[in-house]
Symmetry: C2
Subunit: 343 residues, 2 copies
DNA sequence: AACGAAACCGCAAACGATTGCATTGAAAAA
DNA sequence: TTTTTCAATGCAATCGTTTGCGGTTTCGTT
């Protein structure tokens, strides 16, 4: 018994037929007698034959593998996306190759290269914070290579993308704070070069305007890193520096919201009586902290699943990229908890 | 210009040499004139030649890809492990194929099969809660196939594994609670078929014994799912049912610890004055909740990195599995925060 | 008996790269 | 001039599978 897997040739030798016959018999091609098919399958079973996926990939120029490029694995939202991706990919018979860029453009580019070397059938991308030039993506798109962007989507022609309705999520959250009687609402924004950040800012601003309030640029503060400690520092500074003390924070992510909460507590401010807080993403810990954190939930798993379905449809030609006009937008949901309710 | 990548043949045709010459020139084999090498490399550059990894895999029966089988991606600890894995794999030139089992044995087995079909060079595994029979692993091990287990490791011969010192972590945590004057310490345990759970129970028990306290089986409660809501229910039941009300909880995971905390708060018990709590894993939210949660930190990223380094060493024959006797054990660290300190 | 058509099956090329074993040609040695 | 030697390159098999094309049987039909 050879080491490793049995091959078609092994079956062929055992039965004194050609490799072609074995191949066709296993695939139930016409032109092979039932008798032969039976025997081939029997021997295949006996030898635990499993087709060599690599040889298949080479022959068909298809690997049944998709690549995922993500900024950070250790990030609740992205982990739910990965989970959604993996689920759909598995059920449709595809493997998932994963790389994280750690927000580095260089790694993004080199990841794409190795993926192309490996005959990856398509790529799912959420690009890095460093990425401002999208040439490495548009080149592939123009070659007809299947790519689907999710969450962080570029504004380039013919890009297929799946995102959440950041605008509406931010709008709803801000509006909720206003309804609760908060009037000096600070927005802790994400990196302003990302479209998702811009959309959230826009939602925040529109909510203010439609409620007859003014927009003060000083009340929009960028938290570029996105950790709780960063936002904690920023918030405690703000609490002192702003002419009118803020009475609410709408943060572009939950970590920042927690930072703000900690800073407020440190200042002796009561939440939600004196300060209201709403986050974004609905991380697991939202329900675990005190007071529980209101947050805009992003359907991460659904986003991963949807993006994967679209990518695989493109790969399998069930979906013509040209028929797609705009990005697919998934709805968010404002989950109201204690941190923002005082009525 | 052809669609897709240029091949060695394209270069050969362009220069009127054979494919073998091109191959050798690119690899700087001796026996190729410097002049030819120069020209070959020049054309390769011009055509943006990149070797086809699939063809290489077929030829060499090596894919430079490793497989990762994990119970759940959406799990802070595992996500840090993945991050560690991906980092090392990337820097050593390997791809990572990821599958999650969702704690299902069937998926674990089918994942392994597709990985073998794909000529994966080795596998990193943390098995599912359903897995009690390890035949599908030991078969591979006996064939000399490189496998490294992490976190959840099986007790089978010749298994290479990396784990944290669950025993000591649990011992230290329990001991800390005792030092703080807590006397009726409940242990919220994990699934008892997992070795990590057993080790933590053992650490808990030994700490009690060495402090001259008795072990009461009623004070060891299994939280099999591991969510905060599960443990919240269990804890509030316990608070009423046990003859002596517990004054501390050592949980086998942070989610369970939070559940216990919430249940205690609901009962009006003050933490840490009346009840002390320590968790396990040091999830991100530990510092974000109030009171901040003491926890035993597991070096997830380091574990992933270590396991990957060992796996790749085995693959590259730099490491002989037979020279390894026991599992590699990484140290935990007790991070003391407010939830357990009353002195 | 002879012919044609199914029915079955094998040959060989192809996917892209590597590599042991020739082969070529020219310079060096005789 | 002839032989030897060696550097430079090509041939062809190989990895495991698929597939177009062609080749044998076998059988029914007249």
């Amino acid at each position: 018994m050879k080491i490793g897997q049995a091959t078609i040739k092994d079956i062929a030798i055992e039965l004194n037929v050609s490799a072609s016959t074995v191949s066709r018999a296993l695939k139930n091609y016409p032109g092979i007698s039932d008798e032969t098919k039976r025997k081939v399958k029997e021997v295949a079973e006996k030898l635990h034959y499993r087709p060599n996926a690599i040889a298949l990939s080479l022959r068909k120029s298809r690997s049944f593998t998709i690549g995922v490029i993500i900024p950070e694995v250790v990030h609740f939202f992205f982990s739910t996306v990965i989970s959604g991706i993996e689920g759909v990919a598995f059920s449709r018979g595809y493997n998932v190759i994963l790389t994280q860029t750690n927000e580095k453009l260089a790694r993004e580019i080199s990841s794409i290269e190795t993926m192309l070397d490996n005959q990856i059938d398509g790529i799912l991308v959420s690009f890095s914070k460093e990425t401002t030039d999208f040439e490495h993506f548009s080149k592939l798109i123009n070659q007809g290579y299947p790519i689907v962007f999710f969450d962080r989507v570029p504004e380039i022609p013919n890009a297929i993308s799946v995102m959440v309705d950041d605008y509406k999520g931010a709008y709803t959250a801000t509006n909720h704070l206003i309804t609760q009687g908060f009037r000096n609402i600070v927005h802790l924004a994400g990196p302003k070069n990302l479209k998702i950040s811009q959309e959230r800012i826009r939602g925040y601003q529109d909510a203010l305007i439609e409620n007859g309030m003014k927009i003060d640029p000083d009340y929009i503060v960028e938290c570029s890193i996105g950790t709780d400690s960063e936002s904690q520092k920023i918030t405690s500074k703000i609490l002192k520096s702003l002419p009118v003390r803020p009475d609410a924070f709408f943060a572009s992510n939950d970590m920042a919201a927690v930072g703000a909460m900690l800073a407020c507590k440190a200042e002796g401010l009561r939440i939600p009586e004196e300060v209201g807080i709403v986050g974004f993403s609905n991380w697991q810990f939202c329900t675990m902290i005190d007071p529980s954190l209101s947050s805009v939930s992003q359907p991460g798993s659904k986003m991963g699943a949807k993006a994967t379905d679209m990518l695989l449809d493109m790969i399998e030609k069930k979906l013509d990229p040209n028929t797609i006009t705009g990005p697919v937008v998934l709805e968010t949901e404002l989950l109201i908890r204690k941190s923002s309710v005082r009525l």
